[in-house]
Amino acid sequence: MLFFKTVIITLLFILAIDVQAEDKKIFSNQFGDVEVPVNPQCVVSLHDFSLTIQLMELGVTPCGSVARKKLWKPAYFRGAQHRFNTDAIKYVGSHSSPDIEAIASLKPDLIIGLSYQKKWVEKLATIAPVVILPTRESHTTIWAEQLASLVNKSDKFKQQQKEYNWILAEFNRLLPNASEISITTLEVYEDNFQLIGRGGLDHVIEDMKLGRVEAYQKAKKGVNYSLERISDFNSDVIVDTYEPLLNSREDTQDFRNSLQWKNLFAIKNNQFLYFHRSRYGESMGGLIGSAYLLSSHLTERPLKSQP
């Protein structure tokens, strides 16, 4: 009997050690090497519009995530709220000042952040391993693959990638001369505009090998341009987005009625696309969704090009 007990206990021990040994792996990317659990059970995301959404798409519900919040209103997980059930995600503060103790109280085994949050790594590392992903430095597919390997969902990522590549291939089959079609992604505000395509749009355009007008290639992104210059970006197709939370549709109505806007080639020829700004996040799903949107809009009608 005693012998039996000892054997079982020893076996259990060996098993436990085995599990523990297998439990960890080294993850490395441009921001360094981190020892992470192979099968993380509770992941905390430090950015809602990219990391949280991609995690949800991979089928992993993060146990905590940053979100946007007004006082006396529930937290708003931008881009994730309308696509997934976010009830199980605990709000842990904002991306610029997360509540580190709230993160700690979730007892996470992995924390994922962006490069500009590097200065917190040391502090957060006392709670759980912290991985920085290059969401702003690299293409979505690169960091999404890293994220998938972190949460042990590489299969799901491969499916997403496969679907995305298929749309790209199909798009280029239907529209072999894509580079001859110029497209501009912008956001018009009340008194200015920016060149920006959120929700993976700019990556999709690059991957589809669509053309850009010369002014766009030279232009600086993320800076307010004068509305007077909008005709510089007079491309065959123009994509803008609206944000219902900010009333942007109503606020920019005056400009959209103006001759400057109506004289743009894309507007004149009905080749203007107006999407929801937070429809997708910066994620694989964003790439896939935006790619479907673009390909159905661009391949299923005769496109006019500027002379």
Binding site: S94, D191, N224, S226, L246
Partner: protein, 347 residues
């Protein structure tokens, strides 16, 4: 500064013999300034992010053709923006004259006395915590904030406590409100970008819509200023003299402060907190007129419009093809003037 002003004044005096009636002299100066303003306005219309030939700018004014794309830019973007700059400049200048007059203080300005930052803080609080984006609330919270800050500054500076204290209370209140605004903006939320932009004082074509609902307040503030000229002239000689001339000091102060609040609150609602215009303009105007408020006000009005339109012009063309915020330009112009005044006047 003083070294610069004195020779200029003496030459001006020399050009116009003392035998020439003073009002005649002033009207000539005023019309010259007005002409300068017209020229700057024309520059404002024809220069900008997009190059538009002079002829087209002229045509847009004389025979507007909305179907011409370039003229359309002038008519729908630049002209509304010019209106906003003219009105904001004029209103800030009047507010500056009033505030310097009532506080006997050459360094006073709606910005430095915290009125602008109070208005801005209330607007930010309103839109962050109570999610009021609607325009009427914007004006209302701007006025409330301006009133609150003005009240606070005058409370803090105490009764008859001298000019220096007033400025310091203003500075403390400004620091307080702008620190609070900065802190509130840290509370993360979508849509704060727009607010941040507005906070540095931005003039835009879309602000022209807001003229429609602040003009009554501006009008009341302006009328207040005109009504006050006589009392202000007396007040300039000192409270005792004014009292003996039958001026009700308390009423004068209350009306002046209310006019200042109305004028600068409206400008904040229009274009955000634009600093230093109210400081610099009265000094500009005093180059021409000494201390006759009947003349000082129109001079300030024209100078203010001139200054803000020029600042806006610079803001629109200095980093082509971007536009920087007008408030940044006025701060970069006005703050050195302020420092020079401080160093020159406080010896």
């Amino acid at each position: 500064m003083q070294a610069l002003i004195k020779p200029l004044n003496t030459t001006i005096d020399r050009i116009f013999n003392t035998t020439v009636p003073v009002h005649y002299k002033y009207s000539v100066f005023l019309s010259c300034l007005f002409f300068a303003l017209l020229i700057v306005c024309f520059f404002h219309l024809s220069l900008g992010a997009k190059n538009i030939p002079w002829e087209l700018a002229w045509q847009a004014l004389t025979m507007p053709d909305y179907t011409n794309p370039d003229q359309n830019i002038i008519l729908t973007i630049r002209i509304p923006r010019l209106y906003v700059a003219l009105i904001a400049g004029g209103a800030l200048a009047i507010a500056g004259v009033l505030i310097q007059a009532i506080s006997h203080n050459p360094l006073a300005d709606p910005g430095i006395l915290g009125i602008n930052s109070g208005a801005a803080f209330f607007v930010v609080i309103g839109s962050v915590f109570f999610s009021t984006n609607s325009s009427i609330y914007l004006a209302l919270s701007a006025f409330l904030g301006a009133l609150f800050a003005a009240g606070l500054v005058f409370l803090l500076s105490g009764k008859n406590r001298g000019a220096e204290r007033l400025i310091l209370s203003g500075v403390a209140i400004t620091a307080l409100f702008s620190a609070m605004t900065a802190i509130v903006l840290l509370v993360d939320q979508q849509g704060l970008e727009k607010l941040r932009h507005w906070l540095t004082g931005s003039i835009g074509a879309s602000d022209a819509k807001k003229i429609l609902w602040v003009w009554p307040y501006l009008l009341v503030g302006g009328i207040g200023a005109i009504v006050l000229t006589r009392s202000l002239n007396a007040y300039h000689l000192g409270e005792k003299v004014a009292n003996s001339l039958g001026v009700n000091i308390k009423r004068l102060k209350i009306i002046t402060i209310l006019s200042i609040v109305l004028l600068s609150g409206s400008v904040v609602a229009l274009a955000g907190p634009i600093g230093f215009v109210g400081l610099v303009v009265p000094h500009m105007a005093r180059l021409f007129v000494k201390n006759n408020y009947l003349w000082l006000l129109p001079f300030a009005l024209v100078c203010g419009a001139l200054l803000l339109v020029s600042a806006d012009l610079v803001a629109r063309i200095i980093i082509d093809p971007y536009e920087i915020n007008t408030g940044i330009v006025t701060a970069l112009i006005g703050a050195p003037v302020f420092i020079a005044l401080v160093i020159g006047r406080l010896r």
